[in-house]
Symmetry: C2
């Protein structure tokens, strides 16, 4: 359902719009990890996360007449901002349905990116019904956060860049550690690397207690998380792997790696000191895996994706205070 041709086509559509994020490194991080670590800093992407790639890919792939009617997305976080900015830059309306208790800054940012933000009460209102009513009325196109081929193709462009950038560094094989929620980024990168750097293997990384993908890969069938709250890694908490993403991961991914919230916070502090980048907790789990779970790795080289940087100042300062 998602092919390398779709990823290559997405790259062409993203050119000049998405940022080619840098591949960073530090001898101090190599020393801590006991191997060479290359950090693909997607926190530096527009809107502060890789989600802009998928948002742009999906919006730009629409038939112009369909696109002109607008798009709709459900999200309280990074996907909201990615879709909103992609729509704005295409000059088409976007409706983002957000819970009314979402952080005020995220609501404000999504509005400032041009979206029509519709708030709903999680306790009393049915988000899907609101979405269905709005999209039916206005004939908006729903942009799903991960189980959507053009979104996966957009996230996969990260993998094409990883292949190019590691080749420039002379790296011929590596494990690629990726923060994994619904699996859109991980499966997209896996498909891109299968075609462009087949000696590379992706490893999904998740927070403790929300390791649905790790357990699903181990059991061979889709497993659910017991809860949807209780980790600071909010950006990558999803109920279960996607129906499109999971078969891709089954075919191409190595075993998942699970890290604690505390390890994610330590990784954020190390990224601050050694790389000068701002990483959010969910975006730091792959770096945490490289730093603190090296016993589960096999290769001398690892690529780590820091997938987002949308973290509140008090959480960031807390991570630095404890681990800086």
């Amino acid at each position: 359902m998602v092919s390398i041709e779709m990823i290559v086509a997405a790259r062409a559509r993203l050119r000049g719009h998405a940022r080619r994020t840098p591949l960073l490194s530090s001898p101090f991080i190599d020393e801590l990890a006991g191997r060479r670590v290359f950090v693909k800093a997607e926190c530096l992407q527009h809107t502060g996360s890789f989600k802009f790639r998928g948002g742009w890919s999906a919006v730009s792939a629409l038939d112009p007449a369909v696109r002109a009617r607008g798009v709709i997305a459900f999200s309280s976080g990074n996907h909201a901002q990615g879709v909103a900015l992609a729509a704005k830059l295409h000059g088409v309306p976007s409706v983002i349905i957000m819970p009314s208790d979402a952080p005020k800054l995220k609501i404000a940012n999504t509005r400032a990116l041009g979206a029509d933000v519709v708030l709903y009460d999680r306790a009393t209102q049915d988000r899907d019904a609101i979405g269905a009513a709005l999209s039916g009325e206005r004939k908006l196109t729903l942009i799903k956060p991960f189980d959507e081929p053009q979104v996966i193709a957009g996230q996969g462009t990260t993998g094409l860049e990883i292949a190019e950038q590691t080749e420039e560094e002379g790296i011929r094989s590596a494990e690629v550690l990726i923060p994994c929620g619904g699996g859109g980024l991980t499966s997209g990168i896996a498909l891109a690397l299968e075609a462009s750097a087949p000696a590379f293997r992706v490893r999904p990384c998740e927070p403790e207690g929300f390791d649905d993908t790790t357990r699903s890969l181990a059991s061979g069938k889709i497993e659910r998380n017991a809860a949807m709250t209780g980790s600071i890694c909010d950006a990558i908490i999803t109920p279960q792997p996607g129906n499109i993403t999971f078969p891709i991961l089954q075919r191409l991914a190595g075993a998942g790696i699970v890290v604690t919230d505390e390890e994610a916070l330590r990784a954020m502090a190390i990224a601050f000191v050694r790389l000068k980048i701002v990483v959010e907790p969910g975006g730091a789990v792959a770096l945490a895996a490289a730093l603190f779970h090296g016993d589960q790795l096999e290769e001398d080289n690892v690529v780590v994706v820091t997938s987002g940087g949308n973290v509140d100042a008090d959480i960031f300062a807390g991570a630095l205070a404890r681990h800086g």
Copy 2:
């Protein structure tokens, strides 16, 4: 004394060693500044500042037999780390003379980058005498922090990248705001832009009370700062403009812009929220100038260099707490 040919030659020597740092932007920053702002993120350079460029340029330009004896530098900060890493990667020894009251982390980092760190007591010992004795004995080459042609040429490679990256963005003219200490980075970029993007003009940016370059440009002769301490922007506090750098700035730079420490801290917080980069106070003065002194700017487009990110966690957290 420093020519565009030297900068182009430095670029060739830096290729594959220095990082081509990204040019970042945010619609939120454009909105705050009232114009388009492009941020050249040199805080993402190796060792966390642009100083690695000059260090590499100077070390790589030495005659191999001279280089093999080693290099020496005086620095408590970013220049120390830039020279230490450049020497290490060339496989030659480095001696860095640092005050014994320098931050422990900076001393540890410089040692970890392979340098032989020699500490001296600011109150009772003469740093120059220690340096002269050491370099005479071991025939080390002194790498000065800014008033040194090959160092200026290395910093100037930042300007060649700015010219290329703004051309990719379709920008034909801009003011280029640069944190200015001794003027190595500002004069190097000015020379690079004179040749490769002549419609661009550099504007040195300094902290209040340490505006030696701004006053020197205004008066037409080298002016000194009254003090050497008292600003949080420690990385760019120097006694006066250099003898090599100042004539270049006189010929090519627009008027200096002076910002307060408080504005630098606010700019750091905005860079955290909107760009996901870590900028140190001295590295944030140009962004502060773009954000808070737009009345002194003429162009619709500005390029801002964030020159370094080596800031302690408590100062960074303080900036976020007050302005996040």
